[in-house]
C-alpha cells in the first residue's frame, strides 16, 4: 500500500480513550489470519448480537471509500497489544487515524501495517471533530496534515517509520542486515 500521500475526507468518532476492545472485541481474536477482520471492526458499536445493525450505530452512513481518515478523541488505541486492531481498521477501509494522543503499542502496530497515526494538537483535533467530512491531505514525506480551508500542520513521525513507509522498507530486513552485530553481541555477552 502506498502510504506516502493520503488524500481523502474525514470521518469522526468523537470519543476519548477508544480502547482496543472497542476497535475489535477479544472474541474475534481466535483467528490465525490477518485478513478479513473489517466486519469485526467496532463490532459492538455497529451490530446487534444477531448481526443486524445497531440503532445509533455511530458508523452508520460512513462512506468508507471517500472517508478513509478517522478522527477521534484523545488516547486512541489504549489497552491491549493486539495487532488485530490496526488489521481490523485497515480491512474496514481506514488508512489513517487523527488523534491528539495515541497509545504507544497501538501506534507501533499501526505504523508496521501502513495505518498512519496522525497526532495533532488538541485544537486541531477539536477543529476536525466540530466539522465532519473535511477534505484532508496527509503527506508522510513532509509529515504534514493539510486541512482544506484551515491550514497545514506538522505531525510527529519517527524518521525510521517515515523511511519505511515511503520506501517500502521492512523493519525486519533492517534488523537482519545487522545480523553480524547480533552475533557479536551474543558472543560478547555470553548469550
Amino acid at each position: 500500500m502506498n502510504t506516502a500521500v493520503i488524500e481523502s475526507r474525514t470521518f469522526n468518532l468523537p470519543v476519548d480513550n477508544i480502547d482496543t476492545d472497542q476497535i475489535i472485541p477479544a472474541r474475534f481474536l481466535t483467528t490465525t489470519e490477518r485478513a478479513g477482520l473489517g466486519r469485526a471492526c467496532f463490532f459492538a458499536w455497529r451490530f446487534e448480537e444477531d448481526g443486524s445493525e445497531k440503532p445509533g450505530n455511530p458508523l452508520h452512513g460512513h462512506r468508507v471509500e471517500q472517508q478513509a481518515v478517522l478522527v477521534t478523541g484523545e488516547n486512541f488505541g489504549c489497552g491491549s497489544s493486539r495487532e488485530h486492531a490496526p488489521w481490523a481498521l485497515l480491512d474496514y477501509g481506514f488508512r489513517a487515524v487523527v488523534s491528539s494522543r495515541f497509545a504507544d503499542i497501538f501506534r507501533n502496530n499501526a505504523l508496521k501495517n501502513g495505518l498512519l497515526p496522525v497526532q495533532v494538537e488538541p485544537a486541531v483535533a477539536a477543529y476536525l471533530l466540530d466539522r465532519p467530512d473535511q477534505a484532508v491531505r496527509i503527506d508522510v514525506g513532509t509529515r504534514t496534515l493539510s486541512i482544506e480551508g484551515y491550514g497545514a500542520f506538522e505531525f510527529p513521525l519517527d524518521p525510521f517509520s517515515a523511511y519505511c513507509l515511503t520506501r517500502g522498507i521492512d523493519p525486519l530486513d533492517f534488523i537482519l542486515q545487522g545480523a553480524a552485530d547480533i552475533d557479536r553481541y551474543e558472543e560478547q555477552h555470553g548469550k
Binding site: 470519543v15 480513550n17 480502547d19 476492545d21 472497542q22 472485541p25 477479544a26 472474541r27 481474536l29 481466535t30 483467528t31 490465525t32 489470519e33 490477518r34 459492538a44 448480537e49 484523545e74 488516547n75 489504549c78 489497552g79 491491549s80 497489544s81 493486539r82 495487532e83 494522543r101 497509545a103 504507544d104 503499542i105 507501533n108 502496530n109 508496521k112 501495517n113 519517527d158 524518521p159 525510521f160 523511511y163 523493519p171 525486519l172 533492517f174 534488523i175 537482519l176 545487522g178 545480523a179 552485530d181 547480533i182 553481541y185 551474543e186 560478547q188 555477552h189 555470553g190 548469550k191
Partner: protein, 483 residues
C-alpha cells in the same frame, strides 16, 4: 531444551562510563543495546526471554515461513496456552469445552509452531501451564536485569523482578522470533514513589488503581515507570507483580521495581534460575540493578500510602477510580450511561451478578489466600455467581494443598482450571448483557467481559466481600468481623 539464563558477563561493561548516576531502566537498557539509537533509526535491543501464547503468535510464525526464516533462539522462547482455553475440566472422554472450533484450531496452531521450531510449550500436559505472566515467574524464567517481551500488553508484570518487559504486537513477535531483537525508541522515565504503611484492607491492587486514577489512563504514555519507596520495599513479589502488571493501564511501556532480598528469596530454587555458585554470582550482579542516588527521572510522582483507600473503578476505563465508599463522579455521560449510574450515587451497595477472581493481575496464591480469608466459613450471596480461576496449574495445586479450593467450593464458588478466562472473555467465560461484575482483572472497557457487561475492577478482598453480600462491599466491613 531448558536453559538457565545466567548472569551476563560483566567484563564488557566495567569501564563503559557507568560512573554517572543512572536509573535502573538505563542500566538494563545499556546492557541490551545491540546497535544504539541514531537520529534516523531506533535502537536494536537484545531480548533475553520471549514469551508466547496462542493468540498473538500465529501470524508471526506464518510470516517467518513466508520469508523462509528460522527462529534464531528457540531456547530463549517459552510458550503456553492461556487466552482462548476453556477453564472447565475436560469431560470423561478427555474432551475440552471449546468456545469455538477456531479457538481449538488456534491452540493447535501454537502446538504445531512450537514443535516445528523447537520451542518449549507448556500445553495441556504441563504441570506449569498457566497465564503467561504467572507461569514465567513461577518457572524462574523471569529474572532481574533481563529484557522480556510477549505479544501481550500485560508483559509489564515481569518488571516486578527488575526486568525490562514490553508488550509487543504480532509483527514485532515475528521480529523477535527471527532476530531475538526488538526495535525500540528510547522511552522516558517516570519515577513513582510510594511511602508509608498501607491501611488495613488496602492491597497492591488498590495501590495501582489509586495510581492510575491519579495520573490518568494516558499518564504514563511513552514512559517506563519505576515504582519505589517504603511501601513497595515492604510489599511481597505478588503485590509488586500486581502493580507492574497494570502499568499499561496508564499507558506506560513498562513498569519496574528494583530487585532486592524479597526478589531473590522468591526466585531461589525455581527451575530456570541459576543454581549453586552461579546463583551467588547472579545475585551479586542483580544487587547492582538499582537506581543510583541522584539519578534523575524525566518525571516524578509522590504518593502517600496513607491516602489510599480500598479502591474500585466505577466507569469504562481503569482511570475511572474511586474509593469503595465514595460516590460516582460527574462529567462522563457515556460512562454513566453504560454503567447505568448517576453522578453522586455510591457504588457500595450496588447489586453484583458475578464476581471474578483471577487474571494475570490477581490470580496468584496470595490473591487466592486473601479472597479465601473472607470467604472461609461464609456463603456466596444468593443470586451472585463466583468464578475463581487460578493463574496456573502450579498455583492451583498449591491452593489445593492449603485447602483453599474447599473454602471456595464450600462457599458456593466455582473453582476452575487456569487461564485468562473472564478477564477478556475470549474462551466464552462471559457475563450476560447488563450484568455487573466485580472483577480482580485489569480492564473495565465496555463489553470486555461480554456484550453489555459492566465491570468493576477491585482487589481480591473487595471481590470476595462483594461475593458474600451480593453487593459492592468495602472489605473492611468483613475483615473486622474476621478479626
Amino acid at each position: 531444551m531448558r536453559t538457565a539464563f545466567g548472569p551476563r558477563s560483566e567484563g564488557a561493561h566495567g569501564a563503559s562510563g557507568m560512573s554517572d548516576a543512572t536509573t535502573l531502566f538505563e542500566k538494563i537498557w545499556r546492557r541490551h543495546v545491540v546497535r544504539p539509537e541514531t537520529a534516523e533509526t531506533p535502537a536494536v535491543l537484545y531480548i533475553d526471554l520471549h514469551l508466547l501464547h496462542e493468540v498473538t503468535s500465529p501470524q508471526a510464525f506464518a510470516e517467518l515461513e513466508r520469508r523462509q526464516l528460522s527462529v534464531r533462539r528457540p531456547d530463549r522462547c517459552l510458550a503456553t496456552i492461556d487466552h482462548s482455553t476453556p477453564t472447565l475440566p475436560p469431560d470423561a472422554d478427555g474432551a475440552y469445552a471449546w468456545h469455538s472450533e477456531q479457538a481449538r484450531s488456534q491452540v493447535e496452531t501454537l502446538y504445531r509452531n512450537c514443535a516445528r521450531h523447537g520451542i518449549e510449550l507448556h500445553g495441556w500436559d504441563s504441570p506449569n501451564r498457566g497465564i503467561v505472566h504467572v507461569m514465567g515467574p513461577e518457572l524462574g524464567a523471569t529474572q532481574p536485569g533481563m529484557t522480556i517481551v510477549c505479544g501481550d500488553s500485560h508483559t509489564a508484570t515481569h518488571g516486578a523482578f527488575g526486568a525490562l518487559a514490553f508488550g509487543i504486537g504480532t509483527t514485532e513477535v515475528g521480529h523477535v522470533l527471527a532476530s531475538q531483537c526488538l526495535l525500540q525508541n528510547k522511552p522516558q522515565t517516570l519515577g513513582i514513589r510510594i511511602d508509608g504503611e498501607l491501611r488495613p484492607g488496602v492491597t497492591a491492587k488498590d495501590v495501582i488503581l489509586h495510581v492510575i486514577g491519579r495520573i490518568g489512563v494516558g499518564g504514563g504514555t511513552g514512559s517506563v515507570i519505576e515504582y519505589f519507596g517504603s511501601t513497595i520495599r515492604n510489599m511481597d513479589m505478588e503485590g509488586r507483580m500486581t502493580i507492574c502488571n497494570m502499568s499499561i493501564e496508564c499507558g506506560a511501556r513498562a513498569g519496574l521495581v528494583a530487585p532486592d532480598e524479597t526478589t531473590f528469596a522468591w526466585l531461589r530454587g525455581r527451575p530456570r534460575t541459576p543454581q549453586g555458585p552461579a546463583w551467588d554470582a547472579a545475585v551479586a550482579d542483580w544487587k547492582t540493578l538499582r537506581t543510583d542516588a541522584g539519578a534523575a527521572f524525566d518525571r516524578r510522582v509522590e504518593i502517600d500510602a496513607a491516602d489510599i483507600e480500598p479502591s474500585i473503578t466505577w466507569g469504562i476505563h481503569p482511570g475511572m477510580v474511586i474509593g469503595v465508599d465514595d460516590t460516582v463522579p460527574s462529567g462522563s455521560p457515556d460512562a454513566l450511561d453504560y454503567m447505568q449510574l448517576e453522578a453522586g450515587v455510591p457504588m457500595a451497595g450496588r447489586k453484583v451478578d458475578i464476581v471474578f477472581i483471577g487474571s494475570c493481575t490477581n490470580s496468584r496464591l496470595t490473591d487466592l489466600r486473601a479472597a479465601a480469608s473472607i470467604l472461609r466459613g461464609r456463603r456466596v450471596a444468593p443470586g451472585t455467581r463466583v468464578l475463581v480461576v487460578p493463574g496456573s496449574a502450579l498455583t492451583r495445586r498449591q491452593a489445593e494443598d492449603e485447602g483453599l479450593d474447599a473454602v471456595f467450593r464450600d462457599a458456593g464458588a466455582e473453582w476452575r482450571e487456569p487461564g485468562c478466562s473472564m478477564c477478556l472473555g475470549m474462551n466464552g467465560d462471559i457475563g450476560r448483557p447488563g450484568d455487573l461484575v466485580v472483577s480482580t482483572s485489569n480492564r473495565n472497557f465496555k463489553g470486555r467481559q461480554g456484550p453489555g457487561v459492566r465491570t468493576v475492577l477491585a482487589s481480591p478482598l473487595t471481590a470476595a466481600a462483594s461475593a458474600v453480600t451480593g453487593r459492592v462491599t468495602d472489605p473492611r466491613e468483613l475483615l473486622d468481623a474476621v478479626s
